[in-house]
């Protein structure tokens, strides 16, 4: 059902947890199947220096979360915003079709975290 790479990210997820003093937090959920992902980012000089996630969901949802943290870390905000659902799925050697919509929440959670960071910056400025 799942690729070896996806199973690796599910069984050994990278960057699990919470960043208490995060600069931005994004939460994304799929109301139908219930998958919910919370993504925390630290930003310095427009670069994402740290990412962590907490996810409620199936194997695919957890693997997607793990993968997007690896993809986003070290990227500029603009680069991070160009990460798509398709590129996350591709990096995991594919997702089963029914999981593409339901569990592929990473790119949206990351976008929300960046938006949160930017709105906090504006509020400060």
């Amino acid at each position: 059902m799942y690729s070896a790479k996806l199973m690796d990210h599910f069984t050994n997820p990278r960057n699990v947890g919470e960043i208490v003093d995060a600069d931005g937090v994004g939460m994304e959920g799929n109301p139908t199947c219930g998958d919910t992902m919370k993504l925390y980012i630290k930003v310095k000089d427009d670069v994402i220096t740290d990412v962590k996630f907490q996810t409620f969901g199936c194997g695919a949802a957890i693997a997607v979360s793990s993968m997007i943290t690896e993809m986003a870390k070290g990227k500029t905000l603009a680069e991070a915003l160009s990460i798509t659902k398709e590129s996350v799925a591709e990096a995991l050697d594919g997702l089963p079709p029914q999981k593409m919509h339901c569990s592929n929440l990473g790119a949206d959670a990351l976008r929300k975290a960046i938006e949160d960071y930017r709105s906090r910056q504006q509020a400060q400025g």
Binding site: F10, P13, V16, C33, T55, C58, A61, C102
Partner: protein, 400 residues
């Protein structure tokens, strides 16, 4: 790594004696039971014996057993066949909200053909109230179908009471006993049912072999028209090896039922005791009126598929009614009908024990499962703050 198989409600391995009984009918005894020569007569004789064995399991007459291809076919046949045969008397059916898909979706298809269906609710244990069934009866009601035991939460329904109510109103009563027959005592005379579905692979027989009990004198229309097999009620060349296997499996189930029940009950009690020690885990289904081998739970803050995958990594095979594990990506309608919130239904996990399981299998599961739950909860955004985290988020989005 040895396999610890706790998904007997999905299917069971064939017993060696059953396979042995089937083998000649795959090989030298390949004849069509309708043929007049010896090969045909031998096959016919084997089917007659199997019919007696299956009848014996549920205290029916052999002539009241109709062989089918699956539990789903039996359920379709009973509901559709009885509803269509009785449509001159009315077009109202009653089923429960916690029926198997093969009953639920048959009822829905009949709705499209102009029948009216009442779906009676179940309580928090998945139990149907016979009084609720009684109150749903109208002058138009012709068929009632309520499952004998739930394959998801294990609850055994008050079938005798409901069948008596149906009988008093001259309404045809069917029960889906697929999860029950061969695993607990099922006596069609004692229950007072008009029709009952059972399936061989639920009691260590082969897949593709199932049956429907139809009480003598009950009217039914076939699903499959053709020849005069099964008394003209179910056409098609008989699945001789499958039917023979079902007969043998039924004979062995009847013979060993008490011992099998005691074995799986002891194991599932120990498993339940161990699993309920984990915080925020709830048993589902009725605490006492339940299938002895089925232990079902919801685990808060995590999702079923993750549990299944991590259990599998330890060689433990189980099932879940969560949305992510279903092809339809919907949470179990049975759990939802019991009032389990959708968020918690995602954490469904079902262990169904069988005669091949050992104490060691169960101890392994009791030891591994808490660690699996902890591992997934450590990743869950809800484990620390509870379900409130998602509700707060929903509220803020609505506000914005």
């Amino acid at each position: 790594m040895s396999i610890k198989y706790f998904d007997h409600i999905a299917s069971n391995p064939l017993l060696p004696e059953v396979l042995e009984a089937m083998m000649p009918y795959f090989k030298e005894q390949f004849g069509n039971p309708m043929s007049m020569y010896d090969l045909g007569m031998n096959a016919k004789q084997a089917i007659d014996t199997a019919r007696e064995q299956v009848a014996g399991l549920i205290n029916a007459r052999p002539s009241e057993i109709i062989f089918t291809s699956s539990g789903a076919e039996s359920n379709n046949f009973a509901l559709k066949g009885m509803a269509l045969a009785r449509q001159g008397d009315g077009k109202h059916l009653i089923i429960s909200k916690a029926e198997h898909h093969s009953v639920m979706n048959t009822a829905r298809s009949l709705e499209k053909q102009g029948f009216v269906v009442t779906y009676v609710p179940v309580d928090k244990y998945g139990m149907v109230d016979p009084e609720a069934v009684k109150k749903s009866i109208t002058k138009e009601t012709t068929v009632i179908s309520i499952t004998l035991a739930s394959s998801e939460v294990g609850t055994i329904e008050p079938i005798r009471e409901i069948a008596a109510i149906a009988g008093a109103h001259k309404i045809g009563f069917h029960t889906d006993a697929v999860a029950a027959a061969g695993n607990i005592p099922v006596d069609v005379k004692d229950l007072g049912v008009d029709a009952l579905s059972l399936s061989a692979h639920q009691f260590y027989g082969p897949k593709g072999a199932a049956a429907m009990y139809l009480k003598t004198g009950q009217r039914i229309l076939p699903l499959i028209y053709g020849g005069i097999q099964e008394g003209g009620r179910r056409a098609g060349t008989e699945n001789v090896p499958g039917i023979v296997g079902m007969g043998k499996a039924a004979e062995l189930a009847a013979l060993n039922l008490t011992g099998r029940m005691a074995h799986v009950r002891q194991l599932s009690d120990r498993l339940t005791e161990g699993i309920l020690k984990i915080e925020k885990v709830h048993a589902t289904g009725h605490p006492t009126q339940r299938l002895p081998g089925l232990a079902s739970f919801v685990v808060e803050y995590i999702e079923g598929e993750g549990m299944l995958l991590l259990l599998l990594a330890k060689g433990i095979y189980a099932a879940s009614g969560s949305a992510c594990t279903s092809k339809a990506l919907k949470a179990s309608p049975v759990l939802l009908s019991m009032g389990v919130p959708t968020s918690m239904a995602h954490g469904s996990i079902v262990f169904s024990l069988g005669i091949g399981n050992t104490k060691e299998d169960v101890e392994c599961c009791v030891e591994e499962f808490p660690q699996i739950v902890k591992r997934l909860r450590d990743m869950s955004p809800f484990a620390k703050e509870g379900w409130g985290a998602i509700k707060a988020e929903d509220a803020s989005e609505e506000g914005a």
